[in-house]
């Protein structure tokens, strides 16, 4: 008999501690954080290659600076907090890459440095590190520099492939639309030969990487599907009411950071809901907010704000979309 008198306390004391942490809950052994982050980096490769091709050394410089800043800030703060180092899981590298890809090529070095450091520190470390943050760290960093240095965050130039000059300055497609009512050809938006943030110019590269990410199961396909669905419906409705031949729903889908945001930023498993219905809600919410900001607000693009706003609503979305267990809600079960 194990339950001998006098030993009553021992089974309890020796029982394994089950600690419940916040999402993502990993069950499979090969679905480790490292593998997921490696997947994201592989999926980002087409985007990075296109940004090298369009922005040349601006891209290399920003990507390197952001990744180095993110990794060193994370390493330093984990040391200061006397916690085990976490840089080997690769999440800081991914944050750095996404942050740099969301910057315009002409952003000064200090904007990159401050944004990457603020993103990792305010967006991730203060919440307790990977898996516990509420907001997407890269977008926290970008919002921080967007408000601190609004002038430096406007994309002002790129290295054009179709002209002989070194750097072509022009408005980004969405700014041109908002301020001058100008359209951009769909081919340029698809291939990325336009101005914009480093990673957002080419719709094709984002799609290739995004499909890989969804096919591998690293990103939930429901979130980008929700985003694209909402954008398609809202922009088509607006197009039917007020047709603008130079800017169709297809333009809305392929311009700006929408595809980069839908596939790479919104799908961050930490800051998005975990239920299926919740993911649809999350994606549709982002798409709706993006269109609201594009049509109505003073900003030409709203992916960053929409992702942050829906990140903040993700805990509520999760709460409201708890799936019913088989046989009905446990509270209403009859004896």
């Amino acid at each position: 008999m194990n339950n001998a008198p006098g030993k009553e306390n021992t089974p309890l004391a020796q029982a394994p501690t089950l600690s419940v942490g916040p999402s993502p809950h990993m069950v499979s052994r090969d679905l480790s954080t490292r593998r997921m982050m490696a997947d994201v980096i592989i999926a980002l490769l087409p985007v990075i290659v296109v940004s090298f091709y369009i922005f040349r050394w601006f891209a290399i410089y920003h990507l390197l600076l952001a990744v180095i800043t993110c990794v060193s800030v994370e390493a330093l703060s984990m040391r200061l907090l006397r916690r085990p180092p976490t840089i080997q899981d690769g999440s800081a590298v991914v944050t750095g890459l996404i942050f740099a890809l969301s910057l315009p090529g002409t952003a000064p070095w200090y904007v990159n440095l401050i944004g990457a450091a603020a993103g990792i520190f305010l967006g991730k470390v203060v919440f307790g590190g990977l898996g516990q943050n509420i907001f997407n760290p890269a977008m926290v960093g970008r919002a921080f520099v967007m408000i601190a240095f609004p002038a430096a965050m406007g994309a002002s130039g790129y290295v054009s492939q179709s002209t002989g000059v070194d750097i072509l300055t022009s408005a980004t497609p969405l700014t041109a639309l908002k301020q001058m009512g100008q359209g951009t050809s769909l081919m340029h938006l698809l291939m990325g030969d336009t101005n914009g943030s480093l990673g957002e110019t080419s719709a094709l590269a984002c799609l290739v990487g995004g499909f890989y990410l969804c096919a591998r199961g690293t990103a939930s396909w429901r979130i980008p599907a929700g985003v694209l669905l909402a954008v398609t419906i809202i922009s088509s409705a607006a197009y039917l009411i007020h047709p603008t031949p130079h800017w169709t729903p297809l333009h809305h889908l392929s311009a700006g950071a929408l595809l980069l945001g839908a596939f790479f930023i919104a799908t961050d498993p930490v800051t998005s809901p975990v239920t299926r219905k919740g993911r649809w809600t999350f994606g549709i919410g982002i798409g709706t907010l993006v269109m609201l900001i594009r049509y109505l607000s003073g900003y030409p693009e709203g992916v960053m704000f929409s992702v942050l706003l829906m990140n903040s609503a993700a805990p509520l979305v999760d709460r409201l979309t708890v799936p019913l267990p088989l046989g009905g809600s446990p509270g209403k079960r009859k004896p």
Partner: protein
């Protein structure tokens, strides 16, 4: 129709763009103090919405009829134009305090559990700067406005107050959802509790700046700009001048 558009713009402005908590940073005490649990946060949001509406109704009435320069009641009583706007603050505080007393009696009688979980924060609505701020915002549009057509009536004042309360509710409910999730997060000890809540509030405020200018965008769509119609003939003349 024009009034409806104006009311819509005031509502969107008060609830989202100039959210009292996340844009003006007023009403932070209940926002930080009662946002630990979702149900109490929702209750607090509705209590503030109710108090803000009642207080704004009373303060608009007093400002419009008694306090503003040239108010009808004082002019009728004293047979000359008197400016009592020096009394604004003291009257508003009085009005807010009495409406909070009213809410407290109601909540204690009908929602005893909610009353217990509010604790000291319910009487503290009296000193909630969000409510005084709403009264002062309304005062800015009533008292001392030169053009009588631009003086806010009761619909405008009530819309601002009610949707400011809704904006407060949105902010505090989002905050409560986040803080319930943060309960299981391993936040560094120095930042636990109010510290991390302030960081979250800061990031939320950054996210809400995305709504900047939505009211102007809405206005452009809903009011087909009378100024543009007025300007177009002259623009045509100018372009013709250019051709010549």
């Amino acid at each position: 129709m024009d009034l409806l558009v104006t009311l819509l713009l005031i509502a969107v402005g008060a609830a989202l763009i100039n959210n009292f908590v996340l844009h003006y940073f007023v009403g932070l005490c209940p926002f930080m103090g009662v946002s630990r649990r979702l149900d109490t946060a929702t209750g607090m949001g509705f209590a503030v919405t109710f108090v803000i509406s009642v207080a704004s109704f009373l303060s608009w009435t007093l400002t419009y009829f008694v306090l503003r320069p040239g108010a009808p009641l004082t002019t009728w009583l004293l047979h000359r134009e008197v400016d009592l706007s020096i009394l604004n603050y003291i009257v508003y505080i009085f009005v807010i305090a009495s409406s909070v007393q009213f809410v407290e009696m109601y909540v204690r009688r009908f929602f005893p559990n909610l009353h217990r979980s509010f604790g000291v924060y319910l009487p503290l609505i009296t000193t909630n700067c969000a409510i005084l701020f709403a009264c002062l915002e309304i005062m800015k549009h009533v008292s001392g406005v030169e053009d009588p057509a631009r003086v806010w009536g009761l619909p405008q004042a009530l819309t601002l107050a009610f949707f400011a309360g809704i904006g407060f509710t949105i902010a505090i409910v989002i905050m409560a959802g986040i803080r319930e999730q943060l309960d299981v997060a391993d936040v560094p000890r120095a930042l636990q509790g109010a510290g991390i809540a302030f960081v979250v509030a800061g990031i939320l405020a950054m996210a809400f700046t995305g709504f900047t200018g939505v009211d102007r965008g809405l206005e452009k769509i809903l009011k087909p700009a009378p100024s543009r119609h007025a300007a177009s003939p002259s623009a045509r003349i100018h372009s013709r001048g250019g051709e010549q």
